[in-house]
């Protein structure tokens, strides 16, 4: 399978990365080179093989159902959460207007 300019533009839009026409032109052959190379995986007979889900068998744990069991990752940390926000306003994350 190979991609064309329109497909790469669609992927970039899905990935929320703005790309110029010029960048698109450069990316098409690069991505096609990589995709052509990974295509060889199609040769492998995977009949009856399960896709890997955990590289080392491990049980998913549940934490104790306690509020703020870990004070660092629990609640009431508003200022710490906002400390690195590019536009923190009135205790919230500021974003451009989304409702007209």
């Amino acid at each position: 399978m190979s991609v064309d300019t329109a497909t790469v533009a669609k992927i970039a839009s899905l990935a929320r990365i703005k790309v110029s026409e010029q960048e698109l032109e450069a990316m098409v052959p690069e991505l096609n080179g990589i995709l052509a190379w990974v295509e060889q995986l199609g040769e492998v007979d995977v009949t009856g093989v399960e896709p890997m889900t955990a590289v080392i068998p491990n049980k998913l744990r549940l934490r104790d159902d306690v509020i703020d069991a870990d004070p660092l990752t629990g609640g009431n940390r508003r200022d710490a959460v906002l400390a690195n926000a590019p536009a923190a306003e009135h205790g919230f994350f500021g974003v451009p207007k989304v409702i007209e």
Binding site: A12, L14, K18, L41, R61, R77, P96
Partner: protein
């Protein structure tokens, strides 16, 4: 007086504990080396000399009071800038995280500080750990301290993604450094710079607070000058962490105490599929030499087969970008990091502009590949197929380990290359990871040990791959190679 910066982790720990020198003297000596090399090597993104001194003072004070020092007591280290460090800029070598000062400390770095280590600074790396030459950092290339012996001064790659770590350890800017390994990012740079590095079993070291690249593969580990130093530092880094859902809930073995280069009764597997056409003759010869060394250490050598080896790299370059595209969706210009808000832009425009300005070319390339292979209509053909192939690769190793205890292979297909030599061709760069990626896909412990010098005067590494949870077996085989290789070469100081 001894040059303290020539000492490794064990020597510093023991010297400080025994009162031969103080931790502050050690920190000052390394701080001086860091400052003197920064312009030439660019190994650090941020240096933190005061943090190193403060930690050293704390260690000296503990010793004065007669208290026991930690496993890393008095040892200053470099911290790859992928680990969140409270109050100290953490960037993953990206523009999008420039200026980000975490409000928390990663589990691994906290464990190292608790063990008595101090921080010399945050080490440069490939952007978001994506690269094999340290040429994708927003903060500039790291230059290897090594040069070819041809009299030319070509700037060489320190390897990647942990290129700041490898350059700094090999140039004696720090006795040890943290690395992370997703497809070879500890082992390949270690091999390129003549140092030792181990990626433990997936889940040994907590991923909490490490900037995520490909979560099913990312694993932290130590990079240092020898096997013992790696064993000590890995003990300090490893351990169960409830904040990481894939953390192994197992006790941390005493790897240093368990070190033994006597391999009697052990079987070493040589994978036939790793003998590839066009393999560098010096690498092939070194591999043969490694076999002889391990036999000399008492091991029996057997040929094994890992039939799906050739599919590991293409599977990796589907799985890792897929996970990266998902992990890096968090950089949205809202919660932390860069925001690019063009005039009149709406929220969607802001996301796209921010990510365009904040990510480098290789990161964008991988996000796009990942987005494509996960998109509707292509998911099964690419992603599910790759995960099935990953199962087969893991099964190959399981079968091989019925016949052997550890596997010996080269770490890299070539020695270090010049900067710019491969950066225009993503595929040729990806091929650097051909020997390191299979163990990553299977989550197995694997280390690189410096084993020789090629005719250009550059270091070459051998790789030992072990069974899951058997870091001890890997370290012991590494030690046996180390003792016989007698690798003492270091880069001639030009910086």
């Amino acid at each position: 007086m001894t040059d303290l910066t020539e000492l490794g982790v064990a020597q510093i720990r023991d010297g400080v504990a025994g009162g031969e020198f103080t931790a502050v003297e050690v920190a000052e000596a390394f701080n001086a080396n860091v400052a003197a090399a920064q312009d030439a090597l660019n190994a650090f993104i941020v240096t933190t000399p005061d943090a190193a001194i403060d930690a050293a003072k704390a260690t000296d004070a503990k010793r004065a009071k007669g208290e026991a020092l930690g496993k890393m007591g008095g040892v200053p280290i470099g911290m790859k800038d992928l680990f969140a460090t409270r109050g100290v800029q953490t960037t993953a070598a990206s523009h999008i995280l420039e200026g980000f000062r975490p409000e928390y400390e990663s589990t691994v770095s906290q464990k190292l500080w608790d063990a008595g280590a101090g921080m010399l600074g945050k080490l440069n790396l490939d952007q978001f750990a994506m690269g094999s030459s340290n040429e994708t950092s927003y903060f500039g290339n790291v230059i290897s301290p090594w040069r070819r012996n041809d009299g030319g001064n070509a700037a060489l790659a320190p390897g990647g993604s942990s290129g700041g770590s490898s350059a700094a350890v090999s140039a004696r800017l720090c006795p040890a450094a943290t690395g992370t390994d997703t497809g070879g990012s500890i082992r390949q740079p270690a091999a390129f710079t003549g140092i030792t590095g181990i990626k433990p079993t997936y889940g040994r070291c907590s991923r909490w607070g490490i900037v995520a690249f490909a979560s099913s593969l990312d694993q932290a580990g130590p990079m240092a000058r020898d096997t013992r130093d790696c064993a000590i530092m890995l003990e300090a880094m490893a351990g169960f962490d409830p904040k990481d859902s894939t953390s192994l809930d197992m006790p941390v073995p005493q790897w240093e105490a368990g070190l033994s280069a006597d391999l009697k009764g052990k079987k070493v597997g040589i994978p036939r599929e790793y003998s590839m056409d066009g393999m560098d003759a010096e690498i092939a010869a070194l591999w043969d030499q490694g076999v002889a060394w391990l036999k000399d250490a008492g091991a029996e050598v057997v040929e094994i087969s890992l039939p799906h080896t050739k599919y590991a790299l293409p599977a990796y370059y589907i799985i890792a970008p897929a996970e990266a595209s998902s992990n890096l969706a968090r950089y949205d210009g809202v919660r932390y990091g860069l925001r690019d808000l063009p005039d009149g832009a709406n929220l969607q425009d802001m996301y796209a502009a921010t990510r365009a300005a904040g990510f480098g070319a290789e990161v964008k390339r991988r996000i796009l590949i990942g987005t494509y292979v996960l998109s509707a209509g292509f998911y099964d053909a690419y992603y599910t197929q790759a995960q099935k192939v990953r199962t087969l690769i893991s099964q190959d190793f399981a079968k091989a380990f019925e016949e052997c205890d550890v596997i010996l292979a080269p770490t890299t297909p070539t020695a270090s290359f010049a900067l710019g030599e491969k950066s225009d061709d993503p595929l040729s760069m990806y091929l650097n990871d051909v020997f390191s990626v299979p163990a990553s896909l299977a989550g197995l412990p694997a280390m690189s040990v410096p084993a020789g010098i090629n005719r250009e005067g550059l270091p070459l590494g051998l790789q030992v791959i072990g069974k899951a949870f058997d870091e001890q077996g890997v370290l012991n085989a590494g030690l046996a190679i180390e003792q016989r290789a007698g690798f003492t070469a270091k880069p001639a100081k030009w910086w």
